[in-house]
C-alpha cells in the first residue's frame, strides 16, 4: 500500500495563474518531505523540501505547505510559467535520508 499518494494524475493551469499540487501521506513518522520535478527523457531534479518542524517553506515562485494533522502537503507555484510543465513527485522519509517514499506524480501542464 502506498504511503505517499498524489491523487491527481494531471493538472492544467493557465500561464500566470497559481498551480497547486497536492500530496497525502499515511505514515505519521514521516519527518521530511521533498518535491522533485521531472521533464520527459530526464531524471527527476530536486525542487524544494520541508522539515516537519516547519509548516511552510518558500523558494522564489515555489512554496511548500505542510499540514501535519491532516498528513497533507502541497506545492504552490506562483505565477505558473510554461517551463513549469513537467511531472511533479512528492517524497517523504522517516528519520533517514537513505529511504524516501515517492508518490505517483502529477503531470502539470501550463498553457501559454
Amino acid at each position: 500500500d502506498q504511503q505517499v499518494k498524489q491523487n491527481s494524475p494531471s493538472l492544467s493551469v493557465q500561464e500566470g495563474r497559481i498551480s497547486i499540487l497536492n500530496c497525502d501521506y499515511t505514515n505519521s513518522m514521516f519527518d521530511y518531505f521533498l518535491w522533485y520535478k521531472k521533464y520527459p527523457a530526464e531524471g527527476p531534479t530536486f525542487l524544494i523540501s520541508i522539515s516537519s518542524i516547519k509548516d511552510k517553506n518558500e523558494d522564489g515562485r515555489f512554496t511548500v505547505f505542510l499540514n501535519k494533522s491532516a498528513k497533507h502537503l502541497s506545492l504552490h507555484i506562483v505565477p505558473s510559467q510554461p517551463g513549469d510543465s513537467a511531472v511533479y513527485f512528492c517524497a517523504a522519509s522517516a528519520g533517514s535520508f537513505n529511504k524516501f517514499y515517492f508518490g505517483s506524480g502529477t503531470k502539470l501542464n501550463v498553457k501559454p
Binding site: 502506498q2 505517499v4 498524489q6 494524475p9 521530511y32 521533498l34 522533485y36 527523457a41 530526464e42 531524471g43 527527476p44 531534479t45 530536486f46 523540501s49 513527485f89 517524497a91 522519509s93 535520508f97 537513505n98 529511504k99 524516501f100 515517492f102 508518490g103 505517483s104 506524480g105
Partner: protein, 112 residues
C-alpha cells in the same frame, strides 16, 4: 554540476536473460540508489548502497541484485528477466545525511 549517467536509455531483452544496468556518478557520492518507476506507482526503491561493497534492500528487491565494486559505479542486475520487470529504471546518488538525490535520465527496459 553533478552528473549521473546510465549506460542505456532503452533496452529490449528476452525473458530469462541476465540483464545488467549500469550507473556512474562523477561527484564522489557515497550513497547510490536504484528505483523503478511504474505508472500509478511512482518511484519504488529496489536497492541502495552507502559505500563500496555495502548494500541494503529497498522495498522491492525480489528478482534483483546489485554490485558496487567502485565508489562511482552501481550496477543493477536482473538475474533472470521477466515480463513484470518491464519498467523505467532510475539511478540516483547523494551525499551522506543529505536529502537531495541526483538522478540519472533513466533506462527504459522492455522484457519480451
Amino acid at each position: 554540476d553533478v552528473k549521473v549517467t546510465q549506460s542505456s536509455r532503452y533496452l529490449v531483452k528476452r525473458t530469462g536473460e541476465k540483464v545488467f544496468l549500469e550507473c556512474v556518478q562523477d561527484m564522489d557520492h557515497e550513497n547510490m540508489f536504484w528505483y523503478r518507476q511504474d505508472p500509478g506507482l511512482g518511484l519504488r526503491l529496489i536497492y541502495f548502497s552507502y559505500d563500496v561493497k555495502m548494500k541494503e534492500k529497498g522495498d522491492i528487491p525480489e528478482g534483483y541484485s546489485v554490485s558496487r565494486e567502485k565508489k562511482e559505479r552501481f550496477s543493477l542486475i536482473l538475474e533472470s528477466a521477466s515480463t513484470n520487470q518491464t519498467s523505467m529504471y532510475l539511478c540516483a546518488s547523494s551525499l551522506p545525511l543529505q536529502e537531495t538525490q541526483y538522478f540519472g535520465p533513466g533506462t527504459r527496459l522492455l522484457v519480451l
